[in-house]
């Protein structure tokens, strides 16, 4: 029996995972990876909304160079929470925990992840960590910046907020570690017959590389948070000069996690791009092995570049030299991926549906984000640009622009599988265009402000930078409108969307051979994997029935 036939056979007749059990308890105590993924998606969307509201207040305050909407202290708390919520509750868990959880077992033709209960524990830890962040807000917030540099962050005057924030990082970190562990174990042990390591969909290679970073780097975040906690309470003399500690030591610890964390964010995004660009070019991905191996290369080299955040901190000259050199190396795997994606489009039959438009936006945004990294990895130019708006613009292009466009590409791509509904294509495309335009209008002026010398984390600023900031604020409204439109379009489809076929895009990886939405057990029998990028036998029956593998063709 072909896999496609299996999909249709179990189609609407089988009870979908959404109806397998009812009531709140059936969700909160589920061990179904799909439901856990959906719950993550809901919380992550809430985090994006919260962080986004903070960002809009910041941008409005910056409309006037003298500030004026909020006090300096309030501004400082807002940018701290904007950064912390976006980084730890949206961008880091976003793709792996929400989309990864849903898709990974399906792409393996499996019933669930290797450790379903651990997966639920991971979700609860994430919820607990999020609750602690909300508690930080309730007790009055913190104004330390998400980077938490001592001595400032651990000064005696700081109250409960900083302790809650450090506890939140500790807890959220464990959630991330457990997810990475689960994914690696699942990919190792639960591949279906016919799927060797080089038969994995590239999204899984990306999640595997991400898992390595989550397991190795995230414990250091936990250790750092614990050390900060103890330093604050017991004055151990780790980071605070007044007790005999070294504040620069904290920076090493912090960036040992937080730089690889950037790759926790971007690798899964690259995985989505690899899937979407191939499916919507109707062509096998170009240079599968180079793309897979470059994910691993990024994960490994990414561990040794943290000191490029510290070129003006007073770290040793030799450290700066080595970190700059390694930072340059980590640019190469990203370049390889980019050219391979472009080569995938070459001579394809490119279908401009919403996921693909988001991916094309990704090329532009990631191109700018990656290339501006060269200015910051190289020593001479980093000295003036460090801690200016150039850095703010650069990391928003990579961590926000690239990850967000890939996330939205993936969300639209797998939405029919997750919900059983097709989103509205016009709304989706329009949202992608608004996001692309809004994002660039917001952040490109910040490069110019940074080069001209505007430092980051400024509640007020010199009048010469006002035009840059006003354009940026206008852009942020366009971006917000694009995101609202995307979310609105997706939510509207839940009520009004056309029913999704098992395989609406003509993709060849295994998740598309399950029903849309899948049954509780995903597959009635373990499917046999074929080449995830061989679209040759797939024929479009109709928009309603989607693609079906022609009889007689190899699965």
């Amino acid at each position: 029996m072909t896999t496609a036939a299996a999909g249709t056979a179990q189609g609407p007749a089988a009870e979908s995972y959404l109806h397998h059990g009812r009531g709140l308890r059936s969700w909160l105590f589920t061990v179904d990876h799909k439901r856990i993924g959906i719950m993550y998606l809901a919380l992550i969307a809430a985090a994006l909304f919260l962080g986004g509201v903070f960002a809009m207040v910041l941008r409005m305050n910056l409309w006037w160079h003298g500030g004026g909407l909020v006090s300096n202290d309030a501004y400082n708390k807002l940018f701290t929470l904007h950064g912390a919520v976006m980084v730890f509750l949206f961008v880091i868990p976003g793709i792996p925990a929400a989309l990864g959880n849903f898709v990974l077992p399906l792409q393996l033709g499996a019933k669930d992840v290797a450790f379903p209960r651990v997966n639920l524990l991971s979700f609860w830890l994430y919820s607990l960590g999020s609750a602690l962040f909300v508690a930080v807000l309730v007790v009055g917030g913190v104004d330390t910046g998400w980077t938490l540099y001592p001595p400032y962050s651990l000064e005696g005057a700081r109250g409960l907020g900083i302790l809650l924030a450090l506890a939140a990082l500790f807890v959220v970190g464990f959630s991330s570690i457990l997810t990475g562990l689960n994914f690696i174990a699942t990919i190792h042990t639960m591949r279906p017959p016919g799927m060797g390591w080089f038969g994995l969909p590239l999204f899984l290679w990306a999640l595997y590389a991400t898992g390595i970073i989550q397991i190795v780097a995230t414990p250091v975040l936990g250790i750092t948070a614990a050390m900060g906690f103890l330093e604050r309470l017991f004055h151990l003399g780790l980071f605070m000069p007044e007790y005999g500690g070294d504040p620069v030591l904290f920076q090493h610890f912090f960036w040992f996690y937080s730089h690889p964390a950037v790759y926790i964010m971007i690798l899964p995004a690259m995985g989505i791009v690899s899937e979407v660009v191939s499916v919507f070019s109707r062509k096998p991905i170009f240079g599968y092995r180079f793309i897979a191996m470059s994910s691993i290369a990024i994960a490994v080299i990414g561990f040794f570049v943290w000191g490029h955040h510290m070129f003006v901190s007073g770290q040793s000259k030799w450290a700066s030299l080595v970190f700059s050199f390694l930072t340059m190396l980590v640019a190469v795997p990203s370049a390889i991926k980019t050219f391979n994606w472009l080569a995938t489009m070459y001579k394809g039959a490119i279908v401009l549906k919403t996921p693909m438009i988001y991916v094309l936006s990704f090329f532009a945004i990631f191109g700018i984000g990656g290339l501006t990294g060269l200015f910051l990895g190289s020593l001479a130019t980093d000295i003036p640009l460090h801690d200016t708006y150039f850095v703010v613009a650069h990391f928003h292009f990579v961590m926000v622009g690239s990850v967000l466009t890939a996330f939205l590409a993936g969300l639209h791509y797998w939405w029919p599988k997750m919900t059983g509904r097709m989103y509205g294509e016009t709304t989706g495309r329009l949202s992608a265009l608004l996001v692309l335009v809004g994002f660039n209008v917001t952040f490109i002026p910040q490069f110019f402000a940074g080069v001209a010398g505007m430092p980051r984390r400024y509640a007020t600023y010199a009048a010469v930078f006002q035009t840059n900031n006003r354009v940026s604020t206008v852009g942020s409204f366009i971006l917000a409108a694009g995101l609202c439109l995307a979310v609105g379009g997706l939510l509207a489809s839940l009520a009004r969307g056309r029913r999704a076929p098992a395989n609406p895009w003509g993709a060849a990886s295994l998740e598309w051979s399950a029903a849309s939405p899948p049954s509780h057990h995903n597959f009635d029998r373990t499917p046999t994997a074929g080449d995830p990028y061989d679209f040759s036998g797939l024929r479009l029956v109709s928009e309603e029935a989607g693609y079906v593998r022609a009889a007689g063709e190899a699965p």
């Binding site: 540099y149 700059s324 190469v332 472009l342 489009m345 290339l371 001479a380 430092p455």
Partner: protein, 327 residues
């Protein structure tokens, strides 16, 4: 021959691209901008390449009636892929080399003689500049063409002294000294910012660098209105006496319980453990706060730690510097 052709071209590109760069007011600014210009054009080329190929492929290979299937083309091509791994690798190595050469010129101490040495103190939320001769000010005063050395300290949290027109930035870290060396080349007044987040008024922790056109102009400034507060040097002299340092450390070169202060600054000292150390700000700070850490050979480890306020420490070091370098 080629360089004669390329140099004006490079200069033109440099001027055309980053025309929005601030003034080049220090000796290092031009080399930084050269690196900036190089990376700028390199990045722009690759960005244009990525966007052009994306646009071209979308237009040419867009699915449409009559084009529902892709054309046959290889699914991998190792030589091509090695090529587009190798070219970026070579280019980033060139970027690294060019940038590192420029950077080494930024961090090495200026070879120039008679540097103007200014002690910079960051504190929430203002800068303080102690100039030689005891002139303290909330503005940094420099002389165009005169090599300058800034020694940075902080009394509370990490700050970062940022001079955009000089293309320079250095963190001021509590508990240690950091330094920057350069030569201002343009007379004028330039903004100074704090670039490391430090709390409520971080964004108002600004100052100005006043670069005098010549030494005479600087001297005229330094003479007028002598600082009301005790100058750094006077404070240091007072600290040395008041904390009892002079009981064991002479000012005339004669060793007593400890080494004499005379000629100590800048000297290479042999230590009890056989290594040697150069007497600089960080060594002096360590020796005052943790006297047992690096004991000079021939002396007993008997000195008690002497906790000093940050400004006292700076004053004490300024005082030692007046006692002459090693002969």
């Amino acid at each position: 021959m080629t360089s004669r052709l390329l140099e004006p071209l490079a200069a033109a590109l440099l001027a055309a691209g980053p025309g929005y760069l601030p003034e080049r007011a220090s000796s290092v600014a031009e080399s930084v901008d050269r690196v900036f210009g190089f990376i700028f054009w390199l990045s722009l080329f690759f960005l244009a390449l990525i966007l052009a190929l994306t646009a071209l492929f979308v237009v040419r290979y867009r699915a449409r009636p009559g084009r529902t299937e892709p054309e046959p083309s290889p699914s991998h091509h190792s030589r091509l892929e090695l090529l587009w791994s190798g070219i970026p690798l070579a280019l980033v190595m060139v970027v690294f080399a060019v940038s590192t050469v420029a950077w080494l010129g930024m961090i090495e101490p200026e070879a120039g003689k008679d540097p103007l040495r200014v002690q910079v103190t960051g504190r929430k939320w203002s800068w303080w500049f102690d100039h030689p001769g005891g002139q303290g000010a909330a503005e940094l005063h420099l002389v165009a063409g005169r090599p300058t050395e800034l020694v940075l300290a902080s009394t509370d949290v990490i700050h970062s002294l940022y001079l955009p027109d000089f293309r320079l930035k250095q963190d001021a870290v509590p508990g240690r000294f950091t330094r920057m060396a350069f030569t201002p080349i343009l007379a004028g007044t330039f903004p100074i910012y704090c670039a490391e987040y430090c709390g409520t008024d971080h964004s108002r922790m600004t100052a100005s660098a006043v670069v005098h056109p010549d030494q005479a102009s600087y001297d005229a400034w330094a003479r007028q209105g002598a600082a009301e507060a005790l100058s750094l040097l006077d404070l240091g002299r007072k600290v040395a006496a008041a904390k009892g340092c002079l009981a064991c450390h002479s000012l005339d070169g004669a060793p007593r319980v400890g080494p004499s202060f005379k000629g100590l600054w800048g000297r290479e000292e042999k230590l009890a453990d056989g290594t040697s150390v150069r007497v600089d700000e960080n060594y002096l700070r360590e020796s005052v706060l943790k006297p047992g850490a690096k004991v000079v050979a021939g002396f007993a480890n008997v000195m008690p730690p002497v906790p000093l306020e940050e400004r006292e420490m700076q004053g004490f070091i300024a005082f030692l510097q007046t006692l002459g370098n090693a002969p």
